[in-house]
Symmetry: C2
Subunit: 119 residues, 2 copies
DNA sequence: TGACAACTTCGCGAAAATACGAATTATTGT
DNA sequence: ACAATAATTCGTATTTTCGCGAAGTTGTCA
């Protein structure tokens, strides 16, 4: 199968299995339009769950599930204030990620993604 | 439901539906350990499909499917060289994304994600 | 042209994600 | 204590993803 079995030049030391799983977990959590809507809604501070439901555009129970996914990925934290629970981004910089994706070739060319960030 | 209906201060002009879908598509494509392994393998230039299969750790047919997902998201492009097809990242900066995620609290604290990038 | 090698597409079963309403828990106010 | 509100968990149905082997496609070389 492999054409060249190179033992030299480890270059980037090949990420560990667990590292890949962890990264995938975070990306996967962000890989849903409703959850992305939630993340954007949290862009300017803490927001309560009921508002996030309207932002996500789905039922409260479904939204709660989405919030669980995001929380388990470590992207948000919750804090109770009276009867309502406020959520906030643990790392607002995820919005930078999203912003990068928006900077694509305007030419509808799905083949070439031009992410211009982290530069 | 909503407690305060504020019409003022649009702040960030609320991302369009299509924008959210697009962002989610990219993140979702990255939301799989095997595909992340592929992305990392492509970190130092073009690699042929058979090598990516071993990197991803799954059958050639499965790998091909993963490559289709990544290509459709615009994250990679393919180029034929003889019998083999080489893939490369359209935007290597996605690896910066992944790197950010690695910078988490070492304390196994899944609750708080400390992404330190794009700063 | 015929054999082979590299990939992809197809078909299909197993597993996971998604979404909703109903039921449940927690907190506030009367 | 009781009703009302906010949010989560549960049960379930539908859809999507995942992964493999089999079969098909494309290109190379003798």
């Amino acid at each position: 199968m492999q054409h060249v079995a190179k033992k030299s030049l480890p270059a980037s030391p090949k990420p560990a299995r667990s590292s890949l799983k962890r990264q995938a977990e975070v990306f996967k959590a962000l890989g849903h339009p409703g959850r992305m809507a939630i993340v954007h809604a949290l862009g300017h501070g803490a927001v309560c769950a009921c508002e996030l439901a309207t932002a996500a555009g789905c039922a409260a129970s479904t939204t709660s599930r989405h919030l669980t996914v995001l929380r388990h990925a470590g992207l948000i934290t919750d804090e109770r204030r009276g009867q309502q629970i406020f959520y906030r981004l643990t790392c607002p910089c995820v919005l930078s990620f999203a912003e990068c994706i928006n900077r694509v070739d305007a030419g509808e060319n799905v083949q070439s993604l031009q992410i211009a960030c982290c530069a």
